[in-house]
């Protein structure tokens, strides 16, 4: 006999813990959280800087403090926390195959499953940086683990490629630890990180940010010895004659995060090629009934506070599913969200009106930087609603609330687009 749980959560990071807490608050009794690492908290454990919790707790916490609050809340729910345990397979009928050194291989089943496996970093191989392959090229997150968890320095003179938040945070961290950070190189004409991190992690320490530049060669026989940096043109191709050489022993890559959906794909759950995460409905249910997803496994977030909010939604829906044995609205009328002009992706990708009679929350990213601008929701050519923004950037996730009456009035699908505000 396989042991049965009401709700099984895969991943004990911020998403998984929030989903489990919310499942408990919404009536699920037997809950399990399965975490591959030796402690819960996920990537928050190595994010020892502050800036977490401003939205959710209304105070500024460090990553481990934020994780600690949820660990404490999770403890009070009586949920079982399985650490050092790897999930090997999830099936559509919600069986979970897992393994750890204590119990070996085991299988459980669950009334509802929440996928909360987080994301991984893009690597050098994914972006194909030319040059030799010496040691000293780290993804920013791996470097962060060495520095903040293990207490080791990864280098003395670093260049950061990409202006993602982890790279910016590590620029400051390495500087504080006595290393020299020579530059942060970003191929796009704008930064991919939060504006506050550009100021607090680069500008405050005099670290130059080279926009529209990239590393075109890594040099060094055994350990990195230098990098060649060039300006890029509008099609992102290096411009000859703009070469600069930085003598460094370390390159940190902060060139994007990819949701980790190997389990999801193996389970046959539909993936959105834009987010690289599962396609989800308004309550974070995936294409497989009773399997929900939340956090960075769905789409990469900027702020953990938003991960928490999304995960609570998933946890609530999972509890309801486990209790009722189905999603009341699984087959109700659904409205697809179509990505119009300048929209990179939306989450959810579809809204079932039966679950969103009052309103629906939609998260999305724009494809380029905007000043005064408008987000428009259209039903075909018909404008249903417009939202004003003073600034939008691909590095900052946007959120809109679509009122229930507008949702119901739409004929089939809704198109979201962004444009410069002409009236201003």
């Amino acid at each position: 006999m396989t042991e049965r749980y009401d709700v099984a959560v895969i991943g004990g990071g911020p998403a998984g813990m929030a989903a489990a807490c919310s499942a408990y608050e919404n009536g699920a009794e037997k809950i399990i959280v399965i975490e591959r690492d030796r402690e819960p908290g996920g990537i928050l454990n190595q994010c020892i800087h502050s800036g977490f919790g401003l939205h959710y707790f209304k105070e500024e916490l460090t990553g481990p403090e934020y994780a600690g609050r949820f660990e404490e809340m999770l403890g009070k729910t009586g949920a079982r926390l399985m650490l050092d345990t790897m999930v090997l397979k999830v099936t559509q009928n919600r069986e979970i195959h897992m393994m750890n050194p204590r119990e070996g291989y085991s299988v459980i089943s669950a009334g509802a499953v929440v996928l909360a496996m987080g994301c991984r970093e893009r690597t050098r191989g994914a972006i194909g940086i030319p040059g030799t392959r010496p040691s000293g090229v780290f993804t920013a997150g791996a470097a962060q683990r060495y520095v903040n968890i293990e207490g080791f320095m990864v280098g003395r003179r670093a260049v950061i490629l990409g202006s993602g938040d982890i790279g910016l945070i590590m620029a400051r961290r390495l500087t504080l630890e006595g290393a020299e950070v020579l530059a942060c190189i970003e191929i796009m004409p704008y930064s991919n990180g939060l504006a506050r991190n550009i100021v607090q992690c680069l500008e405050d320490y005099g670290i130059p940010l080279y926009l529209s530049h990239t590393i075109t060669e890594i040099m060094g026989k055994n350990r990195v010895e230098a990098v060649k940096v060039q300006r890029v043109d509008e099609s992102l191709k290096p411009i000859p004659g703009t070469e600069m050489i930085f003598n460094c022993d370390t390159v940190l890559l902060s060139v994007g995060l990819i949701p980790e959906n190997e389990l999801t794909k193996e389970a046959g759950i539909k993936i959105d090629p834009r987010t690289k995460g599962p396609f989800v409905f308004e309550n974070m249910e995936t294409s497989a009934a009773g399997i929900f997803a939340c956090g960075n496994v769905v789409h990469v977030h900027d702020l953990v506070d938003f991960v928490t909010a999304e995960s609570k939604k998933a946890g609530e829906a999972a509890a309801k599913y486990a209790i009722n044995g189905n999603s009341a609205a699984f087959n109700s009328d659904s409205k697809a969200i179509i990505n119009g002009e300048n929209i990179a992706y939306t989450v959810p990708q579809s809204i079932r009106t039966g679950n969103a009679d009052k309103f629906a929350e939609v998260f999305f990213r724009v494809k380029r930087v905007f000043g005064d601008s408008a987000i428009e929701i259209k039903d075909g050519e018909k404008l249903l609603k417009s939202y004003k923004r003073q600034h939008m950037a691909p590095g900052e996730m946007e959120r809109i609330i679509i009122p229930g009456d507008i949702l119901l009035s739409a004929s089939g699908s809704l198109t979201i687009s962004a444009k410069e505000d002409e009236k201003l």
């Binding site: 050092d84 750890n100 050194p101 060495y146």
Partner: protein
């Protein structure tokens, strides 16, 4: 005093050591790096060629076909990845048609079995994802995909288990001929030996010149590759070539025994035998040429680029001969050197015997079987493994599902790894899509703990490729 010393532990040196260790001989293998399989052996197309490329009558032709025949049995006995996928050479125009007919003729002269030219329809039925503009293809069912470094490690491990001495970090600096023996000076001491096999790959001209007059020059030729995620691994089932051009066999697209897709190589004269850098131009060439074989390859799913050096020489054949009394050259072993390796091993034994080496077979010779990874075990084997070692239950590398037990087994093997990449080559930890982003620090920790070496001293690959430069101010006191 060794009976035979082999210089270089790539696939050629390892194959020689394996064959020689079947006889009552004292054998040494000298390797300049801190691990075996660090040169061409770790960076090539990972193919056992059928044998229709080499000019008939050459050593390359004979040893390729023999090696291809021996390869499957050898890989099965040593538990090394091998899959007889077959290969296709696609023709897209009249020139291509002429080329595959020539290859068919050569292959038949070389004794390649089951070669045939097949129609476009049949080609597309076998490989629906290739370029539909194909006119016909040369089909070679005997071609295979293999695990080159796995084979090298298993071969030298077998030799070590049977008494051969492997000396790592021993770069040969000088060879002195004495009365009936040689004295070899290396970066870690001197060795005396009656006979020498020079299997030093891209450096084999320099090593040969320590004993013989200069008579060949190695021309290092660089080949750049893409390795793609398993999501692309099933795109083609066979090795897909285009007709060879002046640069060699051209860019291939093939599945790997590990489930990935490989595309490459380019063919560029390299500035030095250690230049394994990748270039924007080279990668672009692979991308564009591979796209001609199949337009469906998603290069955004690339997980690694690499380059390898082929040890070519002016002469269009292997240099495999007694070049001086007691001194056998196994040089200029370019493609199809990997395929030919099992046959080259036998050939080296034959040459040493011709040179006067007495060969008495050992009564006991035990082949070393590579460890089966936990993920590849049957359910019974898994529960058995878990009873023996609980740490088979701890997954360290998520992408490849490699457990701590697998890593510990590699560390206890006859030729244990010392570096992060050494662990990767033995049990694949860090070879997946995150390229060690998650498991790198964990593997690092296990290596440090099991070897009893400080974290700062563990290298990514060779000596000097250190990962850490010291402790933080707090020294990890969090």
């Amino acid at each position: 005093m060794y009976d035979v010393t082999i210089i270089g532990c790539g696939i050629t040196g390892a194959a020689a050591a394996y064959e020689l260790s079947k006889f009552r001989l004292s054998i040494a293998v000298l390797e300049k790096e801190n691990d075996v399989a660090c040169g061409t052996t770790k960076a090539n197309s990972a193919i056992a060629h059928a044998g229709y490329d080499p000019r008939p009558g050459t050593k390359m032709a004979r040893l390729n076909v023999l090696g291809s025949e021996l390869m499957e049995g050898l890989c099965r006995r040593l538990n090394v990845g091998y899959e007889r996928t077959g290969s296709l050479v696609l023709a897209f125009d009249g020139k291509g048609m002429k080329a595959i007919e020539e290859l068919l003729d050569r292959g038949q002269k070389n004794g390649v079995r089951e070669l045939e030219i097949i129609s476009a329809e049949r080609t597309l039925e076998m490989e629906p994802n290739i370029n539909p503009g194909v006119l016909a293809a040369l089909y070679a069912p005997t071609a295979a995909i293999i695990d080159p470094w796995g084979l090298c490690i298993a071969l030298v491990s077998s030799a070590v288990v049977n008494g051969a001495a492997l000396r790592l970090n021993a770069e040969v600096r000088a060879i002195e001929r004495k009365e009936g023996y040689f004295r070899i000076e290396t970066s870690s001491g001197a060795f005396e030996t009656r006979r020498i096999v020079n299997a030093s790959g891209a450096h084999s001209d320099k090593v040969s010149e320590m004993v013989t007059k200069p008579f060949f020059k190695i021309i290092p030729v660089k080949g750049e590759y893409f390795l793609l995620d398993k999501s692309q691994g099933g795109l083609v089932k066979r090795i897909i070539f285009q007709p060879p051009d002046e640069d060699g066999k051209g860019v291939l697209v093939a599945p790997t025994v590990h489930g990935n897709l490989i595309a490459g190589p380019t063919s560029e004269r390299a500035s030095d035998p250690e230049d394994i850098s990748v270039t924007a131009r080279g990668l672009e060439k692979v991308l564009n040429t591979a796209a001609r074989s199949s337009g469906k390859i998603d290069f955004r799913e690339s997980i690694r680029n690499f380059a390898g050096i082929r040890a070519s020489a002016e002469i269009d054949d292997f240099i495999l001969e007694i070049s001086a009394p007691g001194f056998v050259n196994a040089a200029a072993i370019k493609s199809p050197g990997l395929t030919a390796a099992p046959a080259i091993g036998l050939e080296i034994v034959k040459l040493l015997h011709e040179d006067g080496l007495e060969l008495i077979e050992k009564e006991y010779f035990r082949e070393y079987r590579s460890e089966t990874l936990f993920r590849d075990m049957s359910m019974e084997e898994r529960s058995e493994a878990l009873k023996r070692e609980k740490r088979f239950g701890r997954v360290i590398c998520r992408c490849e599902t490699i457990t701590e037990g697998d890593i510990l087994a590699a560390l206890k093997s006859p030729v244990p790894p010392v570096s992060i990449d050494g662990v990767k080559r033995r049990c694949r930890a860090g070879s997946g899509r995150c390229q060690g982003g998650f498991c790198g620090p964990r593997v690092h920790e296990i290596l440090s703990r099991e070897r009893g070496v400080r974290m700062e001293e563990i290298c990514q690959y060779r000596e000097g490729s250190f990962l850490l430069t010291g402790k933080t101010k707090e020294g990890g006191a969090i």
